[in-house]
């Protein structure tokens, strides 16, 4: 049981709990802006979970300067590949959030209501 208290396990647990809270908010809330807030929390939690994979015990940031010996750098630095993927993912999350908020603005201009139950055009 005590081997579960490492930093990467705690960070992955935080990431997944934040993801679950975000998806729960997207599914149960009625206000349109709360749904977009839920999406933003979901993206942040997912990024935390991915970065926690890249951490090796007692490692340092993946930048080679005077503090890191270049010959044995393979043992000292954290994994740079998931960090590069998360960099892309954060920027894409901002783009999609801006797009969703644009849709909220146009929908509000049509029907003057922020409640998702009043948009019944596609129901049959």
């Amino acid at each position: 049981m005590t081997q579960y208290f490492t930093l990467e396990f705690i960070a992955m647990f935080i990431g997944f709990m934040l993801l679950i809270i975000g998806v729960w908010g997207m599914l149960t809330q009625k206000n349109l802006i709360k749904i977009v807030i839920g999406y933003s929390l979901f993206t942040t939690g997912l990024n935390i979970a991915i970065v926690s994979i890249a951490y090796i015990k007692n490692s340092t940031a993946p930048i080679l300067d005077k503090a890191v010996d270049r010959a044995s750098a393979g043992n000292l630095v954290a994994d740079p590949l998931p960090q590069a993927l998360v960099l892309t993912s954060i920027v894409i999350g901002l783009g999609v959030t801006a797009l969703m908020l644009t849709y909220v603005l146009r929908m509000y201009k049509e029907k003057k209501s922020l409640d998702i139950n009043s948009y019944t055009d596609l129901k049959w």
């Binding site: 908010g25 977009v36 890249a54 940031a61 960099l87 901002l94 908020l101 509000y108 201009k109």
Partner: protein, 80 residues
């Protein structure tokens, strides 16, 4: 030491996320989302990822909150 800090950050992040979803006032919810991004940036620093921390702090906690407030202002403005 860093494990205690990570547990503390995790508790604060989860409590603020619950506030962001369940609070009735929309301004409080948006600010709570911004602060979740800020604490996630500190957690990224603990996980040895300075590039990701810088990106999350500027984009997730700065620009995203500003875009939310623009939309909220426009909706309030056409409400009255």
């Amino acid at each position: 030491m860093s494990i205690v800090l990570a547990i503390f950050l995790g508790l604060v992040i989860l409590v603020l996320a619950a506030v962001a979803i369940y609070h009735k006032n929309l301004k409080v919810a948006i600010i709570a989302t911004g602060v979740v991004g800020l604490f996630a940036s500190v957690l990224f620093l603990l996980l040895a990822a300075p590039d990701v921390a810088m990106t999350e702090a500027s984009i997730g906690s700065g620009l995203s909150t500003i875009i939310f407030f623009y939309v909220l202002n426009k909706i309030r403005q056409s409400n009255d």
